[in-house]
Subunit: 226 residues, 2 copies
Amino acid sequence: MQQIKVAVDAVVFGYEPEQGISVLLIKRKYEPYQKQWALPGGLVLNEESLETAVRRELKEEAGITVSYLEQLYSFGEPDRDPRNRVVSVTYFGLVRPGQHHLSAQTDAEDAEWFNIKKLPKLAFDHKEILAVALKRLRGKLAYEPIGFELLDKKFPFSDLEHLYQILLDHDIDRRNFKKKIISYGFLEELEEVVQKKAGRPARLYQFNKKKYFELKESGYNFDLFY
Amino acid sequence: MQQIKVAVDAVVFGYEPEQGISVLLIKRKYEPYQKQWALPGGLVLNEESLETAVRRELKEEAGITVSYLEQLYSFGEPDRDPRNRVVSVTYFGLVRPGQHHLSAQTDAEDAEWFNIKKLPKLAFDHKEILAVALKRLRGKLAYEPIGFELLDKKFPFSDLEHLYQILLDHDIDRRNFKKKIISYGFLEELEEVVQKKAGRPARLYQFNKKKYFELKESGYNFDLFY
DNA sequence: CCAAAAGTGTTGTTGTTACACCCATGC
DNA sequence: GCATGGGTGTAACAACAACACTTTTGG
């Protein structure tokens, strides 16, 4: 008789121009790994789909709704949970952190954003899961304009620049980067400007999802690597 | 109390210059979907890892050992199996079909290669799984030289050409294709030649895995799309 | 000598990279 | 008027795509 439980866990990334990339973690209320930080997640209910389960756990444990969610990988080593055998189907999510108040509920004692360069010790094999998610994040960024899921609806071009600079971990040429992005045609230049700190006010841009999906459906391959 | 079973299923592709791309299917011995064709797979045992489970099922149901295996995706809709709820972690495999005799055992009545253009009706949601696997196959082919897992150790260049032509589903320019592949430097030209049918005998080549992994580790990105 | 498949270079076009100065604003 | 960040074009170079004839073998 098979004795395996099925869980879901989520690696949700957020970005803020000031702080860089962060990941959503919750503090466990119960054993095992009580009071340790972990990825939000939990057992799947009998009647719900995997994706529904992830969204429910994110709502319950951290009070957030993500704008982008896709399946990441399934982890199923026999010893990854000290209680029973648990196979965890993990998901990869993106969100604009500024738009959500975190609020821990049910089996989380706390929920917080952690900069990916200053991570605490994580429960279970969650460090490994996070490593896979980061690899996916960098990979996707290079081939799809997912940066837009991480930025505000309207944003100055420099936010996009900074985001790529942080994720690629090297400087980019501002002129070339802008040329390339603009050439794809899925960015709309707005009339509005905004002034963040010092310097000349910046034009605001917004992502045109419709144009993006048209291009994508027609088989276009974005190459934003640089 | 959670009542979910965990299974694994495998989509294994093979290639033969004469027949094109084929996928390994087994004929189910028992209900449900008795005597229908399905992907090899089955429930995971309590103590084995997911990958071990796939390899065991491939051995048991079809008598083969694959040369390449990676996780594909997990399918977990509540109604995908008429008996219980089953979450299936699926794997993607590649093999040189000529090197293995298929032999059905345990809960398979038969095991056969099916050309991907002439598929029978499949059990469960296996048609959907296969569609995801084909997408992965094409995607991987474009960015990694996985073609070599599907060819014999030593092969004439034209086999590689044909493989890409079939998978990309359009003609490729032989000169440009060869130039690009050779430029990566992970192919070794051998002294041997072979004559398949008519025409001039062909030089044999072999894949240099060591060089390939060196290149890959150094962050190189292959682009074999054409 | 004909049919079949293998082998092989050049050129125009396109995309990529490198690079530096001026502009608009707040203080 | 100076500090801060925003905005912009060109030229050299590399990669890609298009293109057709010759070579070697078997029958």
